[in-house]
């Protein structure tokens, strides 16, 4: 009986279903949300619509929208994790133990970090890249449209795996980077770390493929006349970030592979005994991890560059230095990984080298900050929501950056390592840099994709909640870190005086949650009022780059005519010269929809899930299925439909008549 069950289901038994109330509640939510959605779709008879228009689409704009929807859901999911941690730490002093067990608390912070980085920040980033980059460079599509859909579905598969851990079994307790030896089989025998590994491995391969895809898109598919030094800065920043992706993500793939081997085949890469070396894992994971944070931040810098120029009605100050600053950051980001573990004991000289390199990286970042401020100088600034996110970012990011330079001093870092000071620092960088950046970009490009603007008033409420909430939530953590509070505390003695500060931080987190509520409300209300907020011009912000030269929402073929540009800020130039309607119609090929990207995603999901639970027949089967599906796709001919220039002209004219 036991053997039969093992062959069929591996280590998956009824015990995997959570037993305590809080986890059950979470599991129920994770199950109910998709079930409710499915019920709604069935009720509205929308399945066919969903399948034809969204699930099988190869249009980067739609794929981008799907990325952003999933990432937003994950923002709420991992945001609830954050609120749970804040509540636990605010209440768990002295005699009170809070409402979470130590083990559960560990799972919560591991899930929070993992999901926020891989499925919120990365999802928002790839979403925006999909929406904007082809439009900005005047291209009709990405270089490999089918591969783009595969990337998206691999991201989705990883996302489902990480959330399945709430329903079946437990999640990793080893933090968002799963340092060994804690993440080794000996100390984490359950499925948690395996969930973490496979979720990241699958999503990571998706990111890698996306990186290749968009680099080729940017290098080969720019509109005629747009040489590299005429590209919009957002596109430049994406090129920089994705160059980091292609050099950093293979390291993650290799590292996760080695950890998988350690856990499943009994090898000794990172084990405490047997000739393994745990610090090698830490080096490898940060050789990926440090570039990763620049992967997230660079496109956000790009968004800010577009936003600040548009809303100051001026060309970006120091375009060339901006580009060079991006590439300086790209190069330097591979030379600083050791600052995450100065305490390893590599010696004074090694630490000094990495400390100095870390301080140097503040220089190109400072160049960018000053460029943005000089762009605002003497500009005619309009305080629209994207601009508010930008200004909140400049203040917070500078504070967080200075905290970072403090920690770049190895001697200081020995005191601050693993303290809440560090936690406050990187949250300042990632929340104010990455999240504010993508929120700004989302508000800014929303009309181009959906055809109507977002409500400004609710957007401003959301911004102020985020800003005030952020300061209240994280300034106490800087102070707590100085007082000696380490990260990941689920309990502390009451005599230390931590509790009042933790309570303030908890209130701040609550205000951020209010900000998220305003964002949800903003989107809902704007959809309700979409006729009133309709963007009839295609250029609602009086912007500067090519994506605004076409009607909103952008048609599936993006650009009806083959254009030619001669300057940077090409659309602005066209408006100045009043030469808007240039170019000729031409024949185009449009890729046909394909469900195979989705199939690849779900077979990968089955493979990962089977590997987590040791259901070997299923992992073998899904691997064979995966290879067969790829071969099938490669044997398909006739994967595109042809649109003649006459048809395109008709489509274009009717679109413009509508607008």
């Amino acid at each position: 009986m036991y053997l039969f069950s093992f062959l069929l289901l591996g280590r998956l038994t009824l015990k995997a279903i959570p037993s305590d109330t809080i986890t059950r509640g979470g599991a129920l939510l994770v199950l109910l949300a998709p079930l409710g959605l499915a019920a709604l779709l069935t009720y509205k008879k929308k399945w066919k619509w969903l399948y034809k228009n969204w699930l099988t689409t190869l249009d980067p704009k739609k794929i981008g929208v799907m990325y952003i929807i999933l990432a937003s859901v994950m923002l709420v999911r991992a945001g609830v994790d954050a609120l749970m941690m804040r509540l636990q730490q605010a209440t768990s002093a002295g005699a009170s133990n809070g409402f979470l067990s130590a083990n559960h608390f560990q799972q919560v912070f591991s899930a929070h970090g993992t999901i926020m980085i891989f499925f919120v920040a990365m999802g928002l980033m790839f979403g925006l890249i999909n929406l904007v980059v082809p439009l900005q460079i005047g291209s009709r599509d990405v270089a490999f449209p089918f591969l783009n859909s595969v990337s998206f579905w691999l991201y989705t598969a990883g996302l489902i795996i990480v959330n399945l851990s709430l329903v079946l079994g437990t999640f990793s307790i080893a933090g968002w980077l799963a340092y060994p030896p804690l993440s080794e089989l000996k100390y984490s025998p359950g499925v948690g770390v395996d969930y973490w590994i496979w979720s990241l491995q699958i999503a990571g391969i998706g990111s890698l493929l996306s990186g290749i895809n968009f680099i080729v898109t940017i290098l080969k598919m720019r509109v005629k006349g747009m040489n590299l030094m005429k590209m919009p800065v957002f596109t430049w920043s994406v090129l920089g970030a994705l160059s980091l992706v292609i050099f950093a993500f293979p390291i993650l793939t290799a590292t996760l592979l080695l950890l998988t081997l350690d856990r499943n085949l009994g090898t000794h890469f990172f084990t405490a005994g047997g000739g393994g070396n745990a610090m090698m894992y830490v080096n490898l994971i940060w050789a990926w991890g440090h570039p990763e944070v620049y992967i997230l931040i660079l496109p956000a810098f790009g968004v800010f560059s577009e936003v600040v120029a548009t809303f100051s009605r001026k060309a970006l100050f120091g375009y060339k230095t901006m580009v060079w600053a991006i590439w300086a950051i790209v190069l330097l980001s591979f030379t600083v990984w050791l600052h995450h573990f100065f305490t390893m004991g590599a010696g004074a000289n090694v630490n000094a080298f990495f400390g100095i390199m870390t301080m140097i990286i503040a220089i190109p970042t400072g160049v960018k900050i000053f460029n943005w401020i000089f762009t605002m100088y003497k500009g005619r600034i309009s305080f629209a929501t994207p601009m508010l996110w930008f200004m909140g970012f400049v203040v917070l990011f500078t504070i967080g950056g200075v905290a970072g330079v403090i920690m770049a001093i190895p001697a200081a870092d020995f005191q601050l390592h693993n303290s809440l000071f560090l936690v406050a620092h990187f949250h300042t960088m990632i929340v104010s840099g990455v999240l504010f950046g993508y929120f700004a970009g989302f508000t800014y490009w929303f009309p181009k994709i959906f055809g109507f603007k977002l409500n400004e008033r609710l957007g401003k409420y959301a911004f102020w909640c985020w800003l005030v909430g952020f300061i209240l939530a994280f300034v106490p953590l800087y102070i707590l870190g100085m007082m000696g509070a380490t990260r990941r505390l689920n309990h502390y003695p009451s005599g230390l005086g931590y509790q009042p500060l933790f309570i303030v931080a908890g209130i701040g987190a609550g205000i951020i949650a209010l900000g998220v509520a305003f964002q949800v409300l903003q989107i809902g209300y704007s959809i309700y009022k979409r006729k009133e907020y309709k963007d009839t011009t295609g250029d609602p912000w009086n912007a500067r780059t090519l994506e605004w030269s076409i009607p909103s929402p952008a048609p599936f073929y993006n650009f009806a005519k083959r254009m030619e540009v001669s300057t940077k800020d090409a659309f602005w130039e066209m408006k100045q010269r009043k030469s808007l309607d240039q170019g000729e119609y031409e024949d185009i090929l449009v890729p046909k929809n394909s469900p195979i990207g989705m199939l690849i995603g779900f077979t990968s999901l089955a493979f990962g899930f089977a590997f987590v639970w040791h259901i070997w027949w299923l992992s073998g089967l899904s691997l064979i299925a995966l290879i067969s599906i790829v071969i099938y796709r490669l044997s398909q001919d006739n994967i595109e439909s042809f649109i003649s220039k006459d048809k395109l002209r008709k489509l274009d004219i009717s679109r413009k008549a509508e607008g």
Partner: protein, 198 residues
């Protein structure tokens, strides 16, 4: 522009994009191997009381493996060349030669692995052996996937002939095959040669 010539132009551009994309992919694979090489460099002294590199490598055997792989790369090159001359039969023959040589290489590698495991020097023995198996095994996995791809390609040539898509794939897969050759040269030098000399 007629529809035909338009599609031809499109396809030429597609070819160019595919080649650049594939080059970038190969560079990412390079980084993957670099990580495994780094791991080997860190762990190769961690023998944990087990055998070191001097004790287990059989250099003449590995040299034969190497020569077989290099020859397969040569035949892959001839296959590509024949494909561009639209000589279908010749292309298929040389691709099959490549597959046979690649398979021989893989079988030799696997028998070396199974020999080591049989005498108790498996990947579980020490950090050194773990990193050795991971590095060489990952290369072997790539060879396996290359063999699958080459077999599919042979079927496609037989069924569809040397059309544009097939030609592009021959080009890409032979790039992949040469790349694996280059990686193997590094493995041969760093793992085997330097392992025995020191």
């Amino acid at each position: 522009m007629s529809k035909v010539s338009f599609i031809q132009e499109e396809m030429a551009q597609r070819n160019e994009k595919a080649v650049i994309g594939f080059w970038i992919y190969l560079m990412t694979d390079c980084v993957l191997f670099a990580s495994l090489f780094a791991t080997y460099a860190v762990l190769h002294k961690n023998t944990y009381g087990g055998p070191g590199s001097k004790d287990i490598f059989n250099l003449p055997y590995v040299l034969v493996e190497t020569l077989i792989l290099l020859t397969s790369s040569f035949s892959a090159g001839i296959a590509t060349y024949s494909a561009y001359l639209y000589k279908k039969a010749q292309t298929v023959i040389f691709l099959i030669i490549t597959i046979v040589l690649g398979l021989t290489f893989l079988i030799m590698e696997l028998s070396e692995f199974s020999h080591l495991i049989r005498i108790g020097d498996s990947f579980r023995r020490s950090g050194f052996l773990s990193s050795y198996f991971a590095l060489v095994g990952t290369h072997g996995m790539h060879i396996l996937f290359g063999l699958i791809a080459l077999s599919v390609l042979v079927c496609q040539i037989m069924i569809k002939g040397l059309n544009r898509n097939v030609l592009r794939r021959i080009n890409l897969i032979s790039m992949f095959w040469h790349f694996l050759d280059v990686v193997w040269i590094f493995i041969f030098t760093i793992v085997y040669l330097m392992g025995v000399i020191k």
